[in-house]
């Protein structure tokens, strides 16, 4: 589904990704771990097309398409979804309007009819269950005045509504208490299907107790320095990131 080859990217002249290679197949969950500043979030944002990052080398192929050649909205319409580490507050736009606008843009791009507000409400009713929310949340402005946990739940709600093929969760666990973490992780698990894939970017192993990965990759200074099964996350938790950096001899 996703093939990343030799990906290099920089922001403001500083190279952050220094040659990433990664293959993700349908049905898989990959965890990207690494210390602060290793480039985890940059990788997530580059995949979504954040304009602040410049890709200087390499390729990203998504379902046979050149992902790097696509605008952010085209990527979303093709099924790529980024759950933001810091979801953006948009005063003046209700959650309901925003979600329906996004939902309909994606349907339109796929040649499907747009849904009117009433029909969309039916869709929404099911999706709200994924994050254990009532309909009240829909009349609030997008993320405006939401708590940290509510913002992350809102990301998962959007993911549930938009049904991506490739979801990238950028530090979705940061700032969550244990209840919110359970709800968010539960939502992600309910959305797992054989034809979609998930990349979980996280600093801590904690989230991986709930979302069990098929593969774990450790990122350090812009490169994947170690890959393994889910047990790698536990080993990292026990021995710290210094251990990986020592093992691979990163100066």
């Amino acid at each position: 589904m996703l093939e990343i080859r030799g990906l290099r990217a920089s922001a403001g002249g500083n190279e952050i990704l220094r040659g990433i290679d990664l293959t993700v197949n349908a049905g898989e969950v990959h965890a990207i771990m690494g210390p602060n500043g290793s480039g985890k979030s940059t990788l997530a944002q580059v995949l979504a097309g954040h304009p602040a990052y410049e890709v200087t080398a390499g390729s990203v192929t998504y379902l046979g398409q050149d992902l790097l050649d696509m605008e952010p909205e085209e990527r979303a319409q093709a099924g790529v979804f980024l759950a933001f580490q810091y979801p953006v507050e948009i005063p003046g736009v209700t959650n309901a309007y925003f979600l329906r606008a996004a939902f309909n843009e994606i349907r339109k791009a796929r040649g499907l009819d747009e849904l009117d507000p009433m029909d969309f409400l039916d869709v929404l009713e099911e999706k709200l269950k994924v994050v254990e929310w009532g309909p009240e949340i829909m009349s609030r402005a997008v993320n405006s005045g939401f708590s940290g946990g509510e913002k992350k739940r809102n990301e998962i709600l959007q993911m549930a509504v938009l049904e991506p093929r490739l979801a990238v969760l950028d530090e979705t666990d940061s700032g969550l208490d244990i209840d919110a973490l359970r709800i968010v992780a539960g939502g992600v698990n309910r959305l797992r299907r054989p034809d979609n894939a998930t990349i979980v970017v996280t600093h801590y192993q904690r989230l991986l107790n709930y979302i069990v990965p098929d593969q774990v990759h450790v990122l350090s200074r812009g490169r994947i320095v170690k890959s393994g099964g889910k047990e790698l996350a536990l080993e990292l938790e026990a021995r710290g990131y210094d251990w990986v950096e020592d093992v691979v001899g990163v100066a």
């Binding site: 933001f84 953006v88 005063p91 003046g92 996004a102 843009e105």
Partner: protein, 432 residues
């Protein structure tokens, strides 16, 4: 340039006018002859390029031809039962107006008719609130008072439906001027909502609207006053709203300005007693080469009054907006709580805004704050929307609309709010 208007004044037919009005007019034209139009060196008018208005030889609008109901349909909203006064090129058009019987002796009629009938309320209030010393434009309007809306709500009477006053410019003849004059009087404990619309059926025409509205809000009265300015984008519009508030009264205004090549609205609110509440909201949307100016001044002359002001602007093209908000707190106005906010969104490199909050506070036990911002669309918010599949153009429009709509939400009366939202959506090209 002033001579022309003085000559026009001398040729006015006094007709059967009541005696009190003649000296009011005379004093006003004398004032205008002396002061003329505001000059660029006048601090209050520094950013408003009035020379274009002063140097054009505007003629009085000729009597309007009959207008079909369909022609004004785009400007009428709400319920058919709402009191509606339609003025075509400054004169009341009775065929297009409809005012049902109002409760408690309340009236919404043409000012010309009220003057001709020798109405006592009109005699007591007209020209007594908006000082002709304020500006040459106010003096000129007062000298040429002809028609406009007269709304009178007796003590304790509540008007459930808003009174909609529509001034339609036909642009039948280029280079004409009208001086709409409105008088709104709410007696003790009365409640009413008045909407003023300045519109045109000739979007490319250059004409001049010089409007003045006087509002007298009695003790404990509640007023919602909405002003919709969507003149021709080649026209000139100068408007003054002067409000006098009595004890315990609540006055809220909303101003939408989106028309005019050069447009200015001045809102003066004088708090003449303690325990008054005043809310002033505004939105200006400019594009092309428009210059749209909003000046507000609130006079806190007495203790325990609250004022809350939020004006927002969205500027595109090479347009220019001006916001000047004055808050004057006199030494005796202790416990004043005044907050003023002005936020601006620039959509293009060529657009600009001059914003100037002025707080002049002479009392020591007060809470007064102000803040002004000028910015562009937030790149992070834009990326967030795009990352959800919303195309860039749509995302920009959505964020722009959201910025503008936030202040429209403050309009209390729902049908008025919905109409304002529709106008803003239409103007910004936002669907649904």
């Amino acid at each position: 340039m002033t001579d022309r208007y003085v000559r026009q004044f001398e040729s006015l037919d006094a007709g059967a006018e009541p005696e009190w009005l003649r000296p009011v007019r005379r004093g006003a034209i004398e004032r205008f002859a002396e002061a003329g139009f505001p000059a660029a060196r006048d601090e209050e008018w520094r950013f408003t390029p009035v020379s274009a208005i002063a140097q054009t030889e505007f003629a009085p609008a000729p009597p309007a031809r009959p207008l079909a109901r369909e022609a004004i349909a785009p400007f009428v909203f709400g319920h058919p039962e709402w009191p509606l006064l339609v003025f075509v090129d400054g004169c009341l058009n009775e065929a297009l107006s409809s005012v049902p019987a109002l409760p408690g002796g309340a009236r919404a009629i043409g000012l010309a008719q009220a003057i001709a009938a020798g109405d006592e309320i009109v005699a007591r209030h007209l020209g007594r609130h908006a000082p002709v010393e304020g500006s040459g434009f106010t003096a000129l309007n007062t000298a040429f008072i002809a028609d406009g809306a007269f709304v009178h709500v007796p003590a304790g009477v509540e008007l459930a439906a808003p009174v909609h006053v529509v001034f339609v410019a036909t642009g039948e003849a280029d280079g004409t001027v009208t001086h709409p004059r409105n008088l709104i009087v709410l007696e003790r404990g009365a409640r009413a909502s008045v909407v003023e619309s300045y519109v045109t059926i000739a979007p490319g025409r250059r004409y001049f609207t010089n409007a003045v509205t006087e509002v007298s809000s009695g003790e404990g009265a509640w007023t919602e006053h909405t002003r919709i300015q969507r003149e021709s984008e080649a026209a000139y519009h100068i408007g003054l709203t002067h409000v006098d508030q009595a004890r315990d009264s609540h006055y809220r205004s909303f101003t939408l300005a989106m028309g005019g090549a050069i447009a200015r609205h001045t809102l003066h609110v004088r708090l003449n007693a303690p325990n008054i509440e005043t809310l002033m909201y505004g939105l200006y949307l400019t594009r092309g080469d428009q210059v749209v100016d909003n000046h507000t001044a609130i006079y806190h002359d007495h203790p325990n009054c609250n004022s809350w002001e939020v004006y927002k602007g969205v500027m595109d093209g090479r347009s220019r907006a001006v916001f000047n908000g004055k808050v004057l707190v006199r030494p005796e106005a202790q416990k004043t709580d005044a907050k003023q906010t002005n936020r601006n969104l620039l959509l293009s490199d060529g657009a600009r805004v001059d914003t100037k909050p002025q707080l002049e506070i002479f009392a020591d036990d007060v809470k007064c704050t102000h803040g002004a911002t000028v910015g562009r669309l937030d790149d992070v918010a834009l990326f967030y929307l795009r990352s959800r599949g919303i195309p860039e153009g749509t995302a920009r429009t959505l964020l722009t609309y959201a910025f503008a709509a936030e202040v429209v939400e403050e309009v209390a009366l729902e049908p008025v709010r919905l109409e304002l939202e529709r106008l803003v959506r239409e103007r910004l090209g936002a669907g649904g």
